[in-house]
Every structure is written in C-alpha cells, then in structure tokens.
C-alpha cells in the first residue's frame, strides 16, 4: 500500500502544478496574445464606458505577474468571467452544457468498450485468421477516418437514405423540455420521470452520435487490446495454464486477459479523455447541445471568456482522468505494489 500512498502524494504535488501550467497557458492566450484583451473579451461592439471599466477591472495596467495572480484567485473562486454571447457567467453556461457532452462521451465509451475489447481479444486468440485480418484492417481504417466525415456519412445513410435514425439534436421537437432536468443526462432524466416515449426518443437520438464518436475509439481499443493480448499469450504462464488442463475460455480470460486488465484501464481512461475531445467536432455535426458546441459557437463569436473557460474545464477533466488512470494502475498491479 505504501507505493500507492506515495503515488498519491506525488499526484497531490503534480496535479496543482499541471493545472497551474494550464491556467498560465490560458492566461497567456487570453491576456497576452490578443492585441487588445478587453476587446477580445467584450467584442468590438461594446460601448466605450464598458470597455474602460473592464480595462480597470481586469487590472491591465498592472504588471503581468500581478495580473496572473488575480486571474488565479478568480479561478479558485470559480469565476470564469462572463460570456459576451449569453451574458451569463461562463461557469453557469458550462454547467448547463457539460452534462450533454458527458452523456455523449459515456455512451460512446460504453459502445467502444463493449465492441473493442472482445474484438481485440478474439483477434489475438485467433492470430493470423481471417477474423484477425479483418480486425487489423478495421483498426487501421478506423483510426484514419476524420470523425466529421463519418458523422456526415452516417447522417446521409442512416437518417436520409434509410430512415433508421432520427435527425440531429438531442430530442425531437415534440419531446423537448418534457421532463424536469434532474441530472442533465436526458436518458437518465426521462427514466426518472417515467416518460417512456421521451426515453426512447432520447436514446434514439443518442445512438448515432455516440456510435460515430465511438468509431475511432473502437479501433484504438481493439488495437491496444490485441497487442496486449498477443504479448500476454506468449508468456510461459500460459503454457503452465494449458498444462493444468484448464478450459480455453478460462485461459483466455482469467489468465491472459487478467494480466492485461491493468494496462487496459489506462488505455480506457485515455480513451475517455480523447472522447471528450472528439465530442467537440461530433457535437457540431449533430447539433448536440454540449460543451463542444458551446466552444465552437463561442469561437465563431470570438467570445474569449467562454472559449478559455471551456478550455480550462476540459483541461481540468483531462488532467484528472490522466491522474485517475495512473492511480488505478498503481493500485491494481500487484507488481507495482
């Protein structure tokens, strides 16, 4: 246990430094890079007195380190500034839009795991067979497709031509705002409210973007699982397990897969982080009202506070996920303990 406590202590030191670095980068992007930071935040149509007031508020006349210190203090108080677009505090906007992204990313993650892991395992077990070759080709092509092209193709085929999937957005117009928002996850909220029609509609709308978003991750997870399994299956302990007369299923899952499970957890954590990023583009194509769309719309409107706020939040989640992956690895692998 001592090793994992030490790892925890290491993380306690590392994570704040990383977050500080992230804040520094966003600070530089927001204050230092633009020619006029105030205009960058307020837009060029703000009235003169507002501009002047903001300039004093932001303390732009102070030296940079002081500005940075004030920036950090504001961040720690949860103040990310106000959005020019919505006139709300950025934190409020993000809290409103983030759950949709989490819902999308989590659904994609589940799909990616449920398909990717078995594919990888069976491709490794039947190495050289047709299944293995198909999986390898799939992994290669899956990681080369741009997600927005896939999204558009999917809409063309499954929505326009075949009519199997509903269109863009989170729910049909008919079902919008039908249930109270409890968790922010439409699928969960409709379940909690007992509204089966809304639930079915929410799931139907979630399926396509989640599937498209998962595509890249299925390929990645399958490839990593296959590589790990090939490595595990070449171990001497597999010969021992066979010599014990154990069934093939037990050897594959309890022995080989059991050995790679820890490494796979790291891969999964990184995959989830990548899904949050991929959601940015996917949400744009499917008009999914999540953080990604918030980010891109803010970009188009040059709403600096919103852009930087969203960047910080995504960065924070990223860092935490990386940390979790590392900690889980240390906790689960008996060799590291």
């Amino acid at each position: 246990m001592r090793a994992s406590l030490r790892a925890l202590a290491g993380a306690v030191v590392t994570v704040p430094i990383t977050l500080l670095g992230l804040a520094l980068v966003t600070f530089l992007i927001g204050r230092v890079m633009p020619i006029d930071p105030v205009l960058a935040i307020l837009g060029d149509r703000a009235p003169e007195d507002v501009v002047a007031r903001t300039r004093i508020e932001m303390g732009l006349d102070r030296p940079l380190p002081v500005q940075f210190f004030r920036y950090i203090t504001q961040l720690l108080h949860g103040n990310l500034g106000n959005s020019v677009m919505t006139s709300h505090p950025v934190t409020e906007d993000i809290a409103h839009f983030f759950p949709a992204t989490i819902e999308l990313a989590t659904a994609a993650m589940l799909i990616a795991m449920l398909i990717g892991i078995p594919l990888g395992v069976f491709a490794a077990v039947r190495q050289g067979s047709r299944l293995d070759n198909v999986v390898r080709v799939f992994c290669l092509t899956g990681q080369s497709v741009p997600v927005f092209v896939l999204a558009m193709l999917s809409l063309l085929v499954f929505y326009a031509k075949l009519g199997w999937a509903p269109g863009t957005g989170r729910a049909d117009v008919v079902f919008q705002d039908m249930v109270p928002e409890v968790t922010g996850f439409l699928t969960v909220d409709t379940l909690l409210a007992g509204d089966w029609d809304s639930f079915r509609d929410a799931v139907a709308h979630l399926a396509q973007p989640a599937g498209v978003l998962a595509w890249f991750s299925i390929a990645y997870i399958a490839r990593m699982t296959r590589a790990f399994m090939l490595d595990a299956l070449s171990g001497e302990y597999i010969i021992t397990a066979r010599a014990k007369g154990l069934s093939a299923a037990r050897i594959i899952w309890r022995h080989a897969f059991g050995n790679i499970a820890v490494r796979l957890v790291t891969v999964l954590a990184l995959t989830y982080a990548g899904l949050l990023e991929g959601a940015v583009i996917t949400e744009t194509v499917f008009s999914w009202p999540g953080l990604g769309q918030y980010l891109t719309v803010s970009l188009l409107n040059a709403d600096m506070n919103a852009v930087l706020g969203a960047t910080l939040v995504v960065g924070l989640v990223y860092v935490v996920l990386n940390l979790l992956a590392d900690m889980i690895y240390r906790m689960l692998d008996p060799r590291v303990r």
Partner: protein, 299 residues
C-alpha cells in the same frame, strides 16, 4: 540495380563507414519492401507529394475560378470531379488542397520533432534537476487536450494556416520529448558512450553526435504515425473554420462549406473527405511498416 552495386551493398565485410551505412539502409529497404501494405502507404504518400508539388501543372483550372451557372455539377468531362457550391472545379481544388494539408503536416513535424528530440535528449543525458524540470514541463503540455487548446490558441490569433500549425505544434511535441528521453536513458549507460566520454568528448558532442542519431529511427516511426493524426486534427480545425480560411481549398474547410449539400450532391463534401481518409490511412500504413522494420519492440 546491377549485380555489382547489390553485392557492394550487401557485402559482409564493408570496407568503409559509408559502405556499411548504405548497406544497412539497403537491407532495411529490402525488409520494408516485403510489407505489402506499408509499400502501398508509401506509394500513396509519394503520389500525393508528387501531385501537390506539381499542382499548378496538374490542376486543370484555377481553383478559385467561380462559375455560378455550373454550381454543384456532377463529375463530367469538363470538371473531372464536379463543381462545388460556387461552381469551382473540385478536382483543381482537391489538388491544391493537398498542398495545404501536406504543407501543414510538414510544418508541424519540422517544428515539433527537433524540439522534442532536443528536450528529451538533454533531459535524459543531463539528469538531475534539469531532467526533472524539463519532464515536468513536458508532462504539463502532455496533459493538455490537443484540439481544444489548439482552438483556444487559434481564437486568440487570427484564424489561418499559420495559427493552426502553431496550435497543433504546441501540444504535439511532448510525446517526442518523452520518447527521446527514454531512448537517451537506455543509451546513456552503454559502454560505447562511456568509451567516447573517456576520449574526452564534451557532453554536447556526445548528445549531438552519438546519442541523438540513435534516437532518430524510433522518432521516424513516431513521426510517421503521428502525421496521420496531425492530418486529422488539421482537417478538424479546417472544418471548424479555424484553419485555412476561405477561399483557400483546404480539405476540411471544403467539407464544412459543402455540409448542407450532403444529402443530394454528396460528392462535394465526400471527395475531400475521402482524400483526408486516404492520406491519413497511408501515413498509418507507412508508419506501421516502418515500425516493424526499424523499431519492432515499440508496439
């Protein structure tokens, strides 16, 4: 290749360093040639480079020339791949767009690989405080979400190819530093480095002339595989309007502007999409093949 040159290259007892080096390269090439898919990837890349370099000669028309009467025309003899929503020839735009994509990828790699190599080698060889500080900085940048940070970066600067390249490069360099550092650590304690040190070589000479060249082969593998994802990220930025600006025929931007025609004139967004896919796949195949030949243990 005639028999004499081949024998010279494959000789078991090379007479000079040059002969040994070329012999080694030739053997690697022979090994690489056996990989069907990797060769396919290489051919595609060479083809795309060729087409991009000769774009002015190969494009039939001016990529910016609009012909509103012939908007969204299907492929025909006049326009090999049809026209887009402003009547511009898609084939010419595609060819010129390849230039932009390859140029961006090349620019990122040229910025990122030497920088990462330098940071990693210095950190790995120097050790101690320098190592810790450099690795801390690397970890910080590694923890940043690539696309999102690139978007924020581009938002502050003027959207365009230069900003996009810079933005991607900003988060693309950490893996190279990590890789270079890992390789440097394995080489630092070898006997031949100790021997060179004993002859009085300075630390910078050791790193520059002896260790860095050894890291190059695994860097090449990593770079090639990374190029595939850089192509995708650059296209993604273009799609979101943060990369090359109109009327520039960047593939991602072309897809974005043709998005609403997906249902009926599907070839207008589909063809640049296919181009992105093919180039990205080619880099992946090439990288896989290179890895099998140059650095088999890096799986």
């Amino acid at each position: 290749m005639n028999a004499l040159t081949r024998d010279w290259l494959l000789s078991d007892s090379p007479a000079s360093r040059r002969q040994a080096a070329w012999g080694r390269r030739y053997r690697l090439w022979l090994q690489f040639r056996g990989h069907g898919l990797a060769m396919a990837g290489l051919c595609v890349i060479v083809f795309v480079v060729f087409v991009s370099a000769l774009a002015p000669l190969l494009a039939m028309q001016d990529p910016g020339a609009q012909d509103l009467a012939a908007r969204l025309a299907p492929p025909s003899a006049a326009h090999w791949l049809g026209t887009d929503e402003l009547g511009r020839d898609l084939y010419s735009r595609l060819v010129y767009g390849g230039r932009i994509t390859l140029g961006m990828v090349l620019a990122v790699v040229v910025l990122v690989a030497p920088f990462g190599l330098a940071v990693g080698c210095v950190a790995g060889y120097a050790g101690g405080v320098a190592d810790k500080v450099l690795m801390r900085v690397t970890d910080i940048f590694l923890a940043f979400p690539r696309l999102v940070l690139a978007l924020a970066f581009v938002a502050a600067m003027k959207p365009g190819v230069e900003s996009a390249v810079f933005a991607i490069a900003l988060t693309a360099w950490p893996p190279y530093a990590r890789l270079a550092r890992a390789e440097t650590l394995t080489f630092r304690n070898t006997d031949f480095v100790a021997a060179v040190r004993l002859t009085g070589a300075s630390a910078s000479r050791i790193v520059l002339r002896h260790i860095a060249p050894l890291c190059v082969s695994s860097m090449i593998v990593r770079v090639t595989l990374d190029m595939s994802s850089i192509v995708l990220t650059a296209a993604g930025l273009g799609f979101l309007g943060m990369g090359a600006q109109p009327p520039s025929p960047e593939w991602g931007a072309m897809i974005a502007s043709a998005r609403r025609f997906m249902l009926d004139e599907w070839w207008v967004p589909a063809i640049p999409g296919l181009a992105i896919f093919v180039v990205s796949l080619a880099f992946n195949l090439l990288g896989d093949g290179l890895r099998d030949v140059l650095d088999p243990k890096q799986s």
